[in-house]
Amino acid sequence: MATIAPSPPATIDLDVRRLPRTLPWYIEVWGQMLRRKPLGTLGALIVMGMLFLAIFAHALTPYGFAETNLRERFISGSATHWLGTDQIGRDVATRILYGARISLYVGFGAIAIASVIATLLGIFCAYWGGRVDMLLQRAVDAWMAFPGLLILMSIMSLLGPSVLNITLVLGIAAGIRESRIIRGVALSIRENTYIESARAMGSGHVRVTLVHILPNVVPTIIVVATTGLSTVILTEASLSFLGLGVPPPHPTWGGMLSLGGLDHMYRAPWLAIWPATALSLAVFGFNMLGDALRDLLDPRLKGG
């Protein structure tokens, strides 16, 4: 079967003139997306759901995230505590909701920083080449030779552990690492003949970069970013495991898993299961969404 022949372009047909005038376009889009990219749509729904829960956490739960209640410890699930309570009686559902805030803040923030850095650095190095590329890559080498732990510990000792510091450090570290991948892809693209012909026709460097290189790199950026998001959230989890994560009492999914969950795994498995589920759902949603976006935005698919 001809399975590697290019499949039909997965673009969305938004030409309003040709749409049957039954539903408004913004609803039609969903229908199209559901049909063409069911996983991606699912991912989008998950992401939007999480954002909603994170933003409105305080309105959705009567408990505070640090509210202890020693008489109601280790409840697995009840009418008043839908997801149960932890080792000092804090409501798990509440902590998951507030945890969404921090995990998503750290995740999005770090990835935004990382993507900008990775793209700028990667494309610049690949396009310019020569000495500049070599020097910058050596600096990147130097950076990457440092185990992340060292950098993180130092920054946090110097500046104090806080959500902002963790986001910055994770973002910068991820960005520099990811610039390697972007550079690799951009190098391949640079060698394409259409770049040469564009230059030969007199296009400036900036134009060539923006019009030819960047769009071809975007799919990789998206995949790398969505993969990186999960890495960032998981890194925060392992930092908590080592005692270097977002400090208490602020809940993060990673922290809940590492500290409460693994400590009491035999007696109260739900303390690990719920944050792990939330983590997995978030990672799943972002990655599916990223995949779908990548497929849709791939410029080589536009126009067949």
Partner: protein, 315 residues
């Protein structure tokens, strides 16, 4: 090409100097005092002063720096730990094979899983196999590896009175036992690393399969397997190789948790303990040694780009 290599090697020197200065400074800038850390609640002034003198910490920073670097360049002496007073190089050499063995097996398992699933997913895009492959990859990605490690160690101990945690035996002493000890941690670590590889493989393959030279091969009537494996795969491996390359420090430093849980006397744990204890010489020297390896490895990877994609030239 030779000029390129020499050029790169020459540039490695300032890189490593930069690394040494940065790591030295970071350690001194971190708040906390290693001497007090050593005596904790018994920090009487005479005790502290005597210890500080013994460790050479009472001299100015730049003197300590040049002594450290000088020792390495002139005598091949990477210094001794403040805590054990034993030479760091000896300890590193005895621990490195452990981390290397773990890293090799981890990379092997993650690449095998990731590449296979990635190929299947890309060549059967948007089919059921693709969906399953992607979901599996995501699941593998979203499990924290230390959570999986703890599960793998704890659950069997509860239900089967058995646990995959052993007393380490070096490969040179007993290769089979050594593999038996390393395979479970390698799989645990590798499964979670397979996710990104699979996804990058899939994405890269999808890009390549749309390119002109593939269409040409297709129109020439070549079978699918030949097209994918012989023509497309090589180019698709570029980002995968990049990924593995940039993850190298992760395997060396990031294996801390795996080494701790599975009792593997590797470099990761050595480094982590030293960092926590503010054992400056160990942190500095291990970092420098690892940095040198990473720089070398990246050079090798860059050279491999030329092999995998002959269009990439180096000026």
């Amino acid at each position: 090409m030779k000029r390129y290599i020499l050029h790169r090697l020459a540039l490695a020197v300032p890189t490593l100097v930069l690394v040494s200065v940065i790591v030295f400074s970071i350690m001194r800038l971190m708040p906390g005092d290693v001497v007090i850390r050593m005596v904790e609640g018994h920090a009487y002034a005479p005790t502290v002063a005597a210890l500080r003198a013994e460790l050479g910490l009472d001299r100015p920073a730049y003197v300590q720096y040049f002594e450290w670097v000088g020792g390495i360049l002139l005598r091949g002496d990477f210094g001794s730990s403040y805590w054990t007073r034993q030479p760091i190089w000896d300890e590193f050499i005895s621990r490195f094979p452990v981390t290397l063995g773990l890293a090799a097996l981890t990379i092997l398992s993650s690449v095998v899983i990731g590449v296979v699933v990635g190929i299947v997913s890309a060549s059967r895009q948007d089919s059921a196999a693709d969906y399953i492959g992607r979901i599996v990859a995501i699941l593998a990605l979203s499990i924290p590896y230390f959570g999986l490690a703890v599960l793998v160690v704890v659950l069997p101990s509860i239900y089967f009175k058995w646990t995959p945690v052993y007393t380490y035996v070096p490969f040179s002493t007993d290769p089979l036992q050594n593999l038996k000890i390393l395979i479970v941690p390698a799989l645990v670590f590798g499964v979670t690393r397979a996710g990104p590889i699979m996804r990058i493989m899939r994405s890269a393959l999808l890009d390549i399969l749309r390119q002109d030279y593939i269409r040409t091969a297709w129109s020439k009537g070549l079978p699918e397997r030949a097209i994918v494996l012989r023509h497309a795969l090589k180019n698709a491996m570029i980002p995968v190789v990049s990924l593995i390359g940039l993850q190298m420090p992760l395997y060396i430093g990031g294996s801390v948790i795996i080494e701790a849980i599975f009792r593997l006397p590797g470099v990761g744990l050595f480094f982590f303990d030293a960092l926590m204890r503010m054992d400056y010489p160990v942190v500095q020297s291990v970092n420098l040694i690892v940095a040198t390896m990473v720089v070398g490895l990246n050079l090798a990877i860059d050279l491999s780009y030329a092999f995998l994609d002959p269009r990439i030239r180096y000026r």
